[in-house]
Symmetry: C2
Subunit: 160 residues, 2 copies
């Protein structure tokens, strides 16, 4: 597995909510920038988009908010390829900050490779990018252990 | 079930990404503002937070991106209480715009009622707010039919 870059974000004052924490949506913004970095790293960059008219659409996102993040924190986001097929990438993002030893959040995204035009359509990755993605993929054991991950959200009640 | 307000968002130019669409993270920002509106509506507003030192933390978010949203669109977000217990609310948000008859996105959030202080702790809703939440809750049939909802994200492969 080849190493993926770690994305670093300095929090902006307007991202902090009335609880004194990073607003939930802005974890998503940091994740979105981290995914842009990831795309650049695997060759799905601005030049690629211009040459091929192909790009990435986000199909799904699941965030787990684990610890409070404050305005003075710097966030680091480590991305992992949890799985990949001919047209889709399943990426896991782990958020950390120096103040805490445990991750402060995790996020999973499902990405689709799309040819944009009058009628956007899902298309296969070209062979070189498919190879890069495949070589970045976690082992199936590491991927299964990655988390906390996405799930069907529901309230389970204690029986009393 | 009492009706919840619909949140309306005019998209800002800086929310549009290099694909010409609303950036994935900014659906989350619109959802976050819609949840603020929802909280105001059920009595968990700024005055409540000031009086009680209690607030809402977001524990989880799952987004489904269903259709492309463009800079000229106006988004409407309809919130539904999918479930509620003594300390938590499970809210579903359906995103629509006038250009399309189908929802353009759905989002689910899991919210926790927290007393903030030196050691933030989950606490029960006061009785009046618990009643309001209970009366806003969808029937279990309507809640089960709500979607597309959250799920464990995974790539399922066709057998060939």
């Amino acid at each position: 597995m080849s190493a993926l870059p770690v994305y670093r974000a300095t929090l902006q004052a307007e991202w902090i909510d009335y609880n004194g924490h990073l607003r939930d949506a802005h974890y998503g913004l940091v994740l979105s920038y981290a995914i842009d970095d990831f795309m650049d790293h695997v060759g799905l960059d601005a030049g690629y988009r211009e040459r091929t008219a192909c790009t990435i659409y986000t199909l799904e996102l699941h965030m787990n908010y684990l610890h409070e993040v404050k305005g003075s924190d710097e966030l680091e986001v480590a991305s992992s390829v949890l799985d990949v097929d001919r047209k889709r990438i399943h990426v896991g993002c782990r958020f950390t900050c120096r103040r805490l030893s445990e991750p402060v959040a995790t996020g999973e995204v499902l990405l689709l490779h799309v040819h944009q035009g009058d009628r956007p359509a899902a298309v296969e990755f070209p062979p070189d990018i498919a190879r890069t993605l495949e070589s970045s993929k976690l082992s199936s054991d590491a991927s299964a252990a990655w988390g906390p991950g996405s799930r069907k959200i529901e309230l389970k009640r204690r029986k009393s």
